[in-house]
């Protein structure tokens, strides 16, 4: 099974090529006729030289050393690895969209602007907000944008001392990291034994320094913060704003809306909730929605309508631009197509079945794996491998690797931090009962093997091209690029 694939540099050979360059009457000059010698680099970049056949083979065979949703179940919690419809890909690759250049007059780009405008409206309706920007490139980028809006709001009101952002201890790492980037100070709020934000722990922070709170609901344990209205009331009364981390919105489409819960700002992860492919880690899209009192702070430019034509507007109080142009437009097209295909009923059913699938799995697995917060979950839930660790010396990571050997992508592991040996499982609505049952069988089988023959679990994965990497070595002695010669 084990195999190493040569790097593209190792299959390179001087003089090989794949490309063909236009060969017309254009007078092509040499580098030193084009630029003074002092402007020229001294050595060529050592890019590979390969034939097109070898190039295609290289990346085809690399792909076969990778696992996507298209290959099998991928219950990576909090990442909403649902089916990525190929229809969306076809729409995004329409030449009219792909080739459209953003540095053009508005009348040249009405098709693209229309997508943006309509998708903003859909987002407003789905999240219950008043205005949306599609500029942020990912969830974390949306958080950063939202936090700058919080900041702008307080500064606008002269509350420059409001520098504290609260997050629950179950928050995703991007929340604190974004808060820091936006210049806030971070305070963590403990959870109750039930896994929800502890309102009592919140209270000490309710003062003039409070800028706001970031929250995902359902939270990263997959639990609905049922006291959310109390929470938003408290925060609002203290002069703070509420930020909704939309990574978990797949639980709520057409069921509830952050806008109803009192959130002032939300982000959506189009690459999660709205089915755009994750592409090996991106691109994503993290639109930001706000209530009307914050609209004026949204990033510029905004897409509006003037005399029946789509047009771009600048906002004087905007926090400014967070990215070039209009965001990850190609991702927007995909999300637009998805929403149009599903419609209101389809979106609602999506969330319903996502929740049904998660509860089914939770109920099936909680006998053999610890479930620290044993209650109905929303679209995901968090098991703990604490029992396996104690009883057999098999930790969450080992369970991951054993799953890999069964062709299943592991859950999100060791997150959220408040659960030991966490295995965060999000099946999504696009997985069938049979797939869920296969996963249950796999998990139960791993538990059984862990008890009967723990070494067999510790040795996994066996069916992969490589075994477990030495991560310490990688970090201690970083080799971050190919070592020529």
């Amino acid at each position: 099974m084990r195999s190493v694939q040569k790097t593209i540099f190792e299959i390179s050979k001087k003089g090989r090529k794949s490309y063909s360059l236009i060969n017309d009457e254009t007078p092509i000059l040499n580098a030193d006729d084009l630029f003074d010698k002092s402007y020229l680099r001294e050595q060529d970049a050592r890019l590979p030289e390969v034939s097109e056949m070898d190039l295609v083979r290289h990346f085809t065979n690399l792909s076969r050393r990778n696992h996507g949703i298209d290959n099998g179940f991928y219950p990576l919690g909090s990442c909403t690895m649902k089916y990525n419809p190929r229809f969306n890909e076809a729409m995004a690759s329409l030449p009219g969209f792909e080739e459209s250049h953003p540095n053009s007059p508005e009348w040249v780009s009405q098709g693209s602007l229309k997508i943006i405008h309509e998708l903003e409206k859909f987002m407003c309706e789905i999240f219950g907000m008043d205005a949306f920007t599609l500029q942020p490139a990912a969830g974390a980028h949306g958080e950063f944008t939202g936090l700058l809006i919080i900041r702008a709001f307080h500064e606008y009101n002269g509350d420059t001392q409001r520098k504290i952002i609260l997050v629950p201890d179950s928050a995703h790492g991007t929340n604190p990291a974004s808060a820091k980037m936006a210049g806030f100070e971070l305070k963590q709020v403990a959870s109750t034994p039930g896994g929800l934000v502890d309102l009592e722990a919140l209270k000490p922070h309710l003062n003039d320094n409070l800028a706001g709170m970031m929250l995902t609901n359902p939270n990263t344990l997959g639990l609905f913060e049922k006291d959310i209205l109390d929470m938003t009331k408290l925060i609002h009364e203290a002069g703070g704003l509420l930020y909704y981390d939309g990574a978990n919105a797949n639980a709520l489409l057409g069921i509830s809306r952050p806008g109803m819960m009192g959130f002032d700002i939300v982000h959506a992860n189009l690459h999660k909730t709205f089915s755009t492919p994750h592409g090996g880690g991106g691109p994503g899209s993290g639109p930001i929605g706000v209530k009307s009192h914050l609209e004026k702070f949204l990033p510029s430019p905004r897409v509006g309508i003037h005399l029946d034509k789509f047009t771009l507007l600048d906002l004087p109080d905007s926090i400014g631009r967070v990215k070039s142009f209009h965001g990850n437009f190609g991702v927007l097209v995909r999300a637009y197509a998805y929403i149009r295909l599903l419609g209101p009923e389809g979106l609602k059913r999506t969330s319903q079945i996502a929740v049904l699938n998660a509860n089914y799995l939770q109920e099936k697995l909680k006998g053999k794996y610890n479930l620290d917060y044993d209650t109905r979950c929303m679209h995901e839930f968090v098991l703990s491998a604490e029992r396996q660790k104690e009883e057999c010396g098999v930790i969450a990571k080992d369970i991951d690797k054993a799953l890999i050997d069964k062709g299943i992508h592991p859950p999100t592991t060791y997150f959220p931090l408040i659960v030991h040996e966490a295995l965060m499982i999000e099946p999504t609505e696009t997985e069938s009962l049979e797939t869920l049952d296969d996963f249950v069988d796999a998990m139960l089988d791993i538990d059984k093997t862990a008890h009967e023959n723990p070494d067999a679990v510790l040795k996994t994965p066996m069916n992969t091209p490589v075994g477990r990497p030495d991560e310490t070595k990688a970090a201690r002695n970083p080799i971050l690029k190919f070592q020529f010669e």
Partner: protein, 451 residues
């Protein structure tokens, strides 16, 4: 239409197993007043055949411009994308995977990232590259964060005048939350004002941002940049260069000029303009700045049997480990564009990338020559070296002129009337390799006719 595989029987079986009589019951934890009691007010579901027709019509509401008639740039441009790129990045194993948290089942994308990092380091002459920032402008923001997080607070940071206005805006936005002071140093005759920058360094500025080729298309003088690098390094400050990576096929690399951080927009490597995104921000650094890298970084190591293995590494920088102490908040990034870039750079390779760059620079040279001779066109900064872009002033309203050119099937450039405060009559003209001499002759004729 939805993508739910559940049959009625499946749902019933599952509900029975859970001991509830409806899915609604599973939502019982949501307070009743938070339940939406009406359908979402979005268009009703539509079928694939209908929507595909509708969206094809929408796409054609964008004016089609042939690539050889497309003189738009200003950050991103059209290039020929070899069809192997969509074919390969569209393979489900890549397209539908996520961040390679599980290296054993992600060697493919990890190795591709590693190869990309290598190629970008080669082009930039830098020691290390991340596996992407969102785009060239946010990579610049990331660089500002890297500096502001690590240097003394409220250090003065110099920003040379040649920046793309959008980059400058994003830098300003990123500054909001940082204790940094940005000091703009306007260009002189389209080039960096070296003297003023050196003065500012002497009086304590701790970092310098330079874009080359700059927004006016001018390639900044490497000797001057090197001089600035020397000066800033003496004060333990940092030089950040934003460079068009395609130009680096020929031009002195940021590494050679002494940059500590080099960033830029790498859309030119295999991504379509896509109305401005997804693009690809590259972020590279010198060895000493290694731990300041934002986002994902892939390293090589071994598995237990000694097989070469790739992993995400230096994760102690990252948000999922370090939370508020992380070097950036990047999680989802531009992975698929990285893959496209790796394929693109392998496709053109060592010689091809130089040939493309030479072709583009030669086209620009030819075009500059021709444009300068048009009555009513005034080339800006005529004696400076250019890579693929140049700015002209026109004796007309540039918005209006550009509109009239579009009607003839050409995108004649980017009007700077509202895009850059310094050039109310300016048009930025950009060359891509699909353009030919004849196309330039044609556009020049059109300009001549319309002016």
């Amino acid at each position: 239409m939805d993508y739910v595989p559940h049959t009625k029987d499946d749902i019933k079986l599952m509900l029975d197993f859970l001991g509830v009589s409806s899915i609604e019951e599973l939502y019982s934890q949501i307070p009743q007043d938070l339940i939406l009691n009406k359908p979402l007010d979005i268009p009703a579901a539509v079928s694939e055949p209908e929507l595909s027709l509708e969206m094809r019509n929408m796409a054609s509401e964008n004016l089609e411009i042939k690539p050889n008639r497309d003189f738009r740039g200003g950050g991103i441009e059209r290039h020929y994308i070899p069809p192997i790129i969509p074919a390969l990045i569209g393979r489900g194993e890549f397209l539908t995977s996520y961040t390679p948290y599980q290296p054993e089942m992600s060697q493919g994308i990890l190795q591709a990232f590693f190869e990309y990092q290598t190629m970008i380091c080669e082009l930039t002459g830098m020691y290390v590259s991340n596996a992407s920032s969102y785009d060239g402008t946010t990579a610049l923001g990331d660089a500002l964060v890297a500096i502001a997080y690590h240097k003394h607070k409220s250090d003065r940071i110099l920003v040379s005048g040649g920046f793309n206005p959008q980059s400058r805006e994003v830098l300003e936005t990123y500054k909001t939350g940082l204790d940094a002071v940005l000091v703009d140093i306007p260009s002189v005759n389209g080039e960096i004002n070296t003297d003023r920058i050196l003065q500012e360094i002497e009086s304590g500025a701790k970092a310098v941002f330079i874009q080359t080729p700059n927004f006016y298309g001018v390639v900044e003088n490497p000797a001057k940049i090197a001089q600035i690098a020397d000066a800033i390094h003496k004060t333990k400050g940092l030089l950040i260069i934003s460079a068009n990576p395609l130009s680096l096929a020929l031009l002195k690399s940021p590494g050679e000029m002494g940059a500590d951080i080099a960033v830029g927009e790498a859309q030119c490597f295999g991504s379509m303009p896509n109305f401005g995104g997804p693009l690809l921000g590259y972020f590279t650094a010198s060895k000493s700045q290694l731990r300041k890298l934002p986002g994902r970084v892939i390293g090589e190591t071994e598995d237990g049997e000694g097989n070469k293995t790739y992993v995400m590494t230096l994760q102690a920088r990252e948000q999922h480990i370090r939370r508020e102490k992380a070097s950036s908040n990047i999680c989802t990034n531009q992975a698929l564009n990285v893959l496209a870039a790796a394929i693109y750079l392998s496709y053109y390779g060592k010689e091809g990338i130089k040939n493309i760059a030479r072709r583009i620079a030669s086209l620009a040279r030819y075009a500059i020559n021709k444009f300068s001779k048009i009555d009513g066109v005034h080339l800006l900064f005529p004696d400076t070296p250019r890579f693929h872009e140049f700015v002209i002033n026109v004796d007309a309203d540039p918005d209006d002129l550009i509109d009239r050119i579009y009607k003839l099937g050409f995108a004649g450039g980017v009007s700077l009337k509202s895009a850059h405060k310094n050039f109310p009559n300016g048009i930025l003209v950009s060359l891509n390799e699909c353009v030919g001499k004849n196309d330039i002759d044609e556009i020049v004729k059109i300009y001549g006719d319309l002016l």
